[in-house]
């Protein structure tokens, strides 16, 4: 087994824009546009970016809630096998490519459908942003938490009840809460219920889609602590999607910064915060409001808005807002380059800056 639980290769997710009387396909919203990402077993990878940068789409595509337009996602596959398929797919000869395609059908989860997806649904789970939206208002807490167990027919009724009670205690709630409706709970408690549901099938990988942004500060701290505890207790791997940089700093080991459907910089949390290379990451970091009036950071204020993902700018996607942009940035798209160890940057000029 490799130490990568998830490997994302050249993933693309386009949403078609239709127009006219006959709903012709006019253009694509390039929500995720060629992302390479590896998530190591047991880590918490923070995926940071502004709204509309495609971070949630990326997460949902990994979960197979969206159908990927292009690209491969491998879940829990040995490294050699992945490399072999990748090599075959990118090879020159047609024969090898078709052999690669055949092999890929077996291990690429974007090619799994129907029954084949069920084992995956057990191992990969999700916690959504707004718990008032992610819990069915007409179901009891018991039914909500048991839903994945019932849907996948994993246990009988008695075992399910036992499991639900156990889960409620794991997330810091009580047995009595089982027979209530979601609207009787506060935001924090609802998020606990959502977390319990995600843990029901003993998953290995949980996608955290902004799990604390709809919560208040004091409750956010409770939930973050709970998530850390659960990660340690059940050896979970998290992909923590958020726009809140201080939260990501608190909870993640590694961070990936996304902008307009592309990864701009990845590295360990310390790399990103202490040794920032990409000008976008720098601007993002300096924009965080720091809850301490004594420390004054110098602000880098970006001009303009995030461009429309239907027509991303040519060259480096960040160039219209980047004050260091040069001709090369407007023409060629930078690849992720290794800066040090595990630190990768997609910028033409990171060495000079």
């Amino acid at each position: 087994m490799s130490n990568n639980i998830i490997e994302v290769r050249e993933l693309k997710k386009y949403y078609p824009v239709q127009g006219g009387v006959f709903k012709r396909h006019i253009a694509d919203v390039k929500a995720v546009d060629g992302v390479n990402l590896a998530i190591k077993k047991g880590e918490c990878l923070g995926l940071v970016g502004e709204s509309g940068c495609g971070k949630t789409t990326l997460g949902k595509t990994i979960l197979r809630l969206n159908q990927a337009t292009e690209g491969r996602i491998y879940f829990n596959e040995p490294e050699e096998k992945v490399e072999e398929v990748e090599k075959l797919l990118s090879s020159e000869s047609r024969e090898e490519r078709s052999r690669g395609q055949k092999l890929r059908q077996k291990i690429d989860i974007t090619k799994f459908y129907g029954r084949k997806l069920l084992p995956l649904r057990q191992k990969i789970q999700i916690v959504f942003q707004d718990p008032s939206n992610s819990l069915n208002p007409r179901m009891l807490v018991k039914g909500i938490i048991a839903e994945p167990l019932i849907a996948q027919k994993l246990m009988n009724a008695r075992e399910i009840e036992k499991r639900v009670i156990e889960l409620l205690y794991t997330v810091g709630m009580a047995k009595e809460h089982m027979m209530r409706y979601p609207h009787e709970f506060s935001g924090g408690q609802r998020q606990r219920i959502a977390i319990a549901r995600a843990l029901a099938t003993y998953p290995e990988f949980v996608l955290m889609d902004e799990p604390t942004s709809a919560l208040d500060v004091s409750v956010q701290a409770q939930i973050l602590n709970l998530l850390q505890k659960l990660q340690a207790d059940f050896k979970l791997t998290y992909l923590f999607v958020t726009h809140h940089l201080l939260v990501v700093k608190h909870i993640s080991n590694r961070i990936a910064v996304m902008y307009l459907g592309k990864i701009m910089e990845t590295g360990t949390t310390d790399d990103i915060f202490e040794d920032t290379h990409h000008p976008y990451t720098r601007a993002l970091l300096s924009a965080i409001p720091i809850p301490d009036p004594e420390t004054k950071m110098e602000k880098i204020i970006l001009t303009g808005d995030v461009p429309n993902p239907v027509n991303p700018p040519k060259g480096c996607r960040f160039n219209p807002r980047c004050k260091y942009a040069k001709t090369v940035c407007r023409e060629a798209e930078p690849e992720l380059e290794k800066a040090a160890g595990n630190h990768f940057v997609a910028c033409h000029r990171w060495k000079e800056l």
């Binding site: 992610s134 009580a174 409706y181």
Partner: protein
Amino acid sequence: MNETVVNEREEKEKIAVHPRLQEFLFSTRRFLKNPLTIIGLVIIILFALIAVFAPLIAPPHGSDPYRIPHTGWKMTPSPPSDIHPLGTLEQQYDIFYGVVWGTRLAFRIGVTVVFANLLIGIILGALAGYYGGIADEIIMRITDMFYAIPFLVAAMALVVAIGRGLKAVIIVLIILGWPTYTRVIRGEILVLREKDYILAARAGGASSLRIIFKHILPNSIYSVLIIASMNIGTVVLTAAALSFLGLGSETGYADWGQMVAMSRNWIVGPADNRLAFWYVVIIPGFVIAMFVLGWNLLGDAARDVFDPKMRRR
């Protein structure tokens, strides 16, 4: 963690009632707080009682209880008397008997038609809304076609094509009624489909059928039920209109529309007493109006209670 400790006190105050029952009681309490609801409820219950106890209130004579007995062939209606508590129509059909058994018929028409409509509407709406794509396109274009034809004209043409009679009226109303429900259900599902709890269910491995029946329909059914309850009145009204036009039941049948049709010639009395035959029009007409009003009031009240925006939190 500590949260549970704080909430413990609240917990003990709660009486041990099953939460579903509690929810129902809460809704009922809100439902009954509106005076209009009470009026609607009383009207409908009264009608229901009349329908249920029809054989006791007005004992039938012949083999077909829906045939109004008539004593003689005299053309002029006769006013209320001991034998005919509400008077008679032309050819001496008893109005009281007609009203009582007409109630039964009204319920039969209304409930059959609306139930069939709901069934078709929910199935097609769920197909169109959840799966989208070509299924959606085809179903929605068909409903558009139904909307393009004037309702009453289409109903009349179809009834004539099938052959006059009550059965034909019911079939036609079923055929023409479902597009409304399909549209509403589809719209609701389109909204719900993007909700996070549907995604969560999919992430949990739930099949499409399970998602539709367990997650989508319980959350979308209420708006359709409200429309359905209002439509029972409308359907009866339309059936009455068709009967009035001479397309429904035959003469002498205990159908409110038919009774109004038979009183057509007696709306205005002779020159010396214009209101001589008031009872022939007013009584069946009033009954129809009350029936429709009752269902409408109930539907309105149900909307106030079940509309998620009006609910607590």
